[in-house]
């Protein structure tokens, strides 16, 4: 028998490798990594570092989408939590700052979960409410200004490094590990996949679908809060108008590129993070190539289309017919 590639994940990993290879072609020093002042620098590190907020968002989004839901509010929640963190950073100790920002994210997530699980509002509408209102709340917190701070403890979360790795990368990896532990270490993953795959069947099998829905939206809000803190710490300030703007769409895209269907069911946490890296690798590649940044969106769309086509079962069937791989 010939060597078989794993059934899932191949197309995403190949896509990421291809994009990295293209980046290497347009910028030969792409894979150069150097150690300076105890921190790693280089384009590859930059991809991981810049990709961290979307990767963190996608860790929450992937579970929501696996439940056949969607959360449009994560960008706005990032703005709220970033604004809270930046406003408090210079007057309160770090634990208080973090607790306030994370608590706000959790509250936002619970609100979304309440609308969806208890009131039965369609997820896209329910989360649209906070998407619109959230940015306004963030502006109220910052009083319409860009709030800056100087607290080195908070700044460390965006610009510092642990064992040479920039902190956002470490936070992303830790959150990935934690999410894997919570979801795959318990039976939650199975119950989420069952509920997303067939909510009525899962409920009739005794699965507490409401509680799981609530928990998943809460988790998504928490992830958005972490992403918001990292983003604010990175720029040493909070811009309520632009923090996390449109990132909900990147997060959804990352999840979809990662092979999780918008119809719910099967999901992969690792591949969602890979999806986020694909998006960021493209962004970085276009910057390095010297193309005008405006082309970024078009190129992104083309690559996304390519990855999705590679996953399409119908196209796969067509391919095997054309090339006669199967009898």
């Amino acid at each position: 028998m010939s060597l078989r590639l794993p059934r899932i994940g191949t197309s995403q990993v190949v896509a990421l490798l291809v994009i990295l290879a293209i980046n290497w072609v347009v910028s030969p020093q792409f894979f150069d990594i150097r150690l300076q002042d105890g921190r790693l620098f280089g384009s590859l590190i930059d991809v991981l570092n810049r990709g961290a907020p979307v990767a963190i968002l996608s860790l929450g989004m992937v579970l929501v989408i696996a439940m056949r839901g969607i959360d449009l509010s994560v960008g706005a929640v990032m703005a709220i939590c970033g604004a809270i963190a930046a406003s408090l950073a210079d007057s309160y100790p770090l634990p208080v700052v973090l607790a306030a920002a994370l608590g706000a994210g959790l509250a936002c997530g619970l609100w979304n979960g309440f609308l969806v699980a208890v009131l039965g509002i369609q997820p896209i509408v329910a989360t649209l409410i906070l998407m619109v209102a959230g940015r306004g709340i963030a502006q109220l917190i910052t009083e319409g200004r860009i709030v800056t701070f100087t607290s080195p403890e908070l700044a460390f979360l965006g610009g510092g490094s642990v064992l040479g790795l920039p902190t956002p990368i470490v936070i992303t990896l830790a959150l990935l590990a934690l999410t894997l532990l919570i979801v795959r270490g318990t039976a939650l993953g199975l119950l989420i996949e069952a509920t997303g795959g067939n909510a009525r069947a899962a409920a009739l099998a005794g699965v507490g679908t409401r509680l799981i829905t609530l928990a998943v939206y809460a988790w998504c809000g928490l992830c958005a809060a972490i992403a918001g803190i990292v983003a604010a710490a990175d720029i040493l300030g909070a811009d309520a108008n632009n923090a996390g703007l449109w990132l909900e769409l990147d997060a959804i895209l990352a999840v979809v590129i990662g092979g999780t269907s918008l119809f719910g069911g099967r999901f992969s946490l690792v591949l969602a993070v890979v999806g986020a890296l694909i998006i960021q690798a493209m962004n970085t590649g276009i910057l390095l190539s010297g193309f005008p940044p405006e082309t970024n969106l078009v190129v992104k769309a083309v690559v996304v289309l390519a990855v999705l086509l590679a996953q399409s079962p119908r196209l796969a069937g067509l391919g095997s017919n054309l090339f006669g791989r199967r009898a």
């Binding site: 318990t186 069952a194 795959g197 069947a201 009739l204 099998a205």
Partner: protein, 523 residues
């Protein structure tokens, strides 16, 4: 004996309507069809039978061009035809009506009849003309309904007739009915049969796929049986007694199943009645859903729910399982009053429930057989106490072996299994929780003969092991064989309770048909 026994004419029809020869089709190396032939004569109703997975669906799809066959010829009135899609097949005169009617339920009956070929004037649809013609077409089937009303406002039977009328009106000469009777009650089946007889008289050939053997003998002229993708045999209905037909379908004997049934019946009766009720429902009901009823469920005791479609059988089971919430009455489990507000609570009380709608409420199609089997047990343990992969594998392997689930591959997505095997996996899901009460809503619907017998045998065995059972079934002969008590429903009321000797098919029928509330509320 009868005039129909003259074999010469019957065997040598000079010009068959439809001739299939040498149909073969493989899916990834698996032979779904292997050299199948079928001959359909003018004005003939031809039953196409076989167990799940025998190749009936594949044959139909190959005939109508939905699936490309590897080999085989198709002749309509002697001329070779090769439709490449359902639309081309319809054009050629081959129309298919599926079990799930594929019309637009929100459009009117008339719009459905003429969808894609509406009568127009200056490019505008002539609504009045269309309704007039629709009424005329349906009148030909003795169906006088308001053709302007949306299709979904009518029963499934009427929807089927509209689908058939649409097909026939598009000059179909061969009509393929794929399990049209699966969701119809006895009266509706009669209406459908009347339509089929009319079509027969017009010389239209009908290929009829069904799981109900009674219906085969009621309406079919000829039977073709498939088994494992091959032709198992073909004969006129008169030439093929029922027992021979079942043997032909299964390729094996069923004798032991009957013996087991008799034995179990004896022991079941011994156990029944003496045990105290495990769960009791008093004056339990929900306005506009089911009228208040009393129900006692005992270990080792089977309670059957009988009645016509829509009489409140499914609604009763949903109330008992907490899938719907009662607004009157009390539920008592183990002597204590309980609030059954959700399936999760019922699960923790030791209840299990296999719903009637297997696909929409039972299986999670994309998950594996293993994941589907462990789902309820995992829900019962809670998310924080996961079953290890090894435990899951053990449970799945045990039930696949015990219930003979095929193919015996725990990692196959359950949606790819046949209906009978999906049903077995759902039974396994509940058996894995070791329930004390199992509620089965139409456990044998849409299941092939072999799996059917196995599920009946399983019901008997569970009962002897001391489980309480509440079973809904439309097949009265089936209920009679295993129930210790039968509750008859009519118009969402529990109207009669039959026990012991009184449980007979005529007895149940009489209770269903009675004008005034018959039967007595025994203690």
């Amino acid at each position: 004996m009868t005039p129909s026994d003259t074999p010469t004419d019957d065997r040598r029809d000079p010009a068959p309507l439809l001739e299939l020869a040498g149909f073969s089709k493989s899916f990834a190396g698996f032979k779904a069809l292997d050299g199948v032939r079928l001959t359909l004569r003018h004005g003939e109703v031809h039953a196409l039978l076989g167990e799940n997975g025998a190749g009936k669906s594949t044959l139909i799809k190959c005939m109508t061009g939905v699936v490309h066959r590897d080999a085989g010829t198709l002749r309509l009135d002697g001329a070779l035809i090769a439709p490449r899609s359902a639309a081309e097949a319809t054009q050629a005169g081959l129309a298919t009506v599926y079990q799930e009617v594929n019309l637009a339920p929100n459009l009117s009956v008339a719009q459905n009849l003429f969808l894609g070929r509406q009568p127009t004037r200056f490019g505008l649809v002539r609504e009045g003309e269309m309704r007039r013609r629709a009424a005329a077409v349906l009148a030909g089937f003795d169906l006088n309904i308001d053709v302007a009303a949306p299709l979904e406002s009518y029963s499934v039977a009427v929807q089927h007739i509209v689908a058939i009328a649409r097909a026939v009106d598009q000059s179909a000469r061969v009509l393929i009915l794929d399990e049209p009777t699966a969701s119809l009650d006895a009266h509706e089946v009669e209406i459908l049969f009347a339509v089929m007889r009319k079509l027969k008289a017009r010389g239209i050939g009908i290929v009829f796929v069904t799981h109900f053997l009674d219906q085969v003998y009621a309406i079919c002229d000829r039977i073709t049986v498939l088994r494992n993708g091959r032709l198992a045999g073909s004969a006129t209905t008169a030439e093929l007694p029922r027992l021979d037909l079942v043997k032909m379908m299964l390729g094996r004997e069923l004798a032991h199943a009957t013996a087991e049934r008799a034995l179990a019946a004896a022991s079941g009766e011994a156990a029944g009645g003496r045990e105290a009720a495990f769960a009791a429902f008093e004056g339990y009901g929900k306005a506009g859903y089911v009228a208040p009823f009393d129900l006692a469920l005992r270990p080792g005791h089977v309670v059957g729910l009988a009645g016509l479609l829509g009489s409140g059988r499914t609604e009763t089971t949903r109330l008992v399982f907490g899938a719907a919430t009662a607004d009157t009455g009390t539920a008592i489990v183990d002597g204590a009053k309980v609030a059954l507000a959700s399936p999760a609570e019922a699960l923790h009380l030791g209840f299990g429930y296999c719903p009637e709608e297997r696909k929409t409420e039972g299986i999670v199609a994309e998950l594996t057989v293993r994941e589907n089997i462990v789902l309820a047990l995992q829900a019962k343990r809670g998310a924080l106490k996961p079953l290890s992969r090894r435990e899951q594998d053990e449970i799945a392997a045990r039930f696949i072996r015990l219930l003979d689930i095929r193919p015996p591959d725990p990692e196959r997505p359950i949606g790819l299994l046949s209906g009978g095997n999906q049903q077995k996996a759902l039974l396994a899901r509940w058996l894995a929780t070791q329930p004390r009460l199992l509620i089965l809503d139409e456990p044998t619907r849409g299941i092939d003969v072999g799996a059917h017998a196995e599920i009946i045998a399983l019901i008997r065995r569970l009962c002897t092991e001391g489980m309480a059972l509440l079973v809904v079934s439309s097949e009265l002969e089936e209920i009679v064989t295993y129930a210790d008590e039968v509750i008859v429903l009519r118009d969402r009321h529990h109207v009669a309770r039959l026990t012991g000797e009184a449980i007979t098919v005529p007895g149940i029928l009489a209770a269903i048909a009675a004008d005034a509330p018959a039967g007595e509320q025994a203690a």
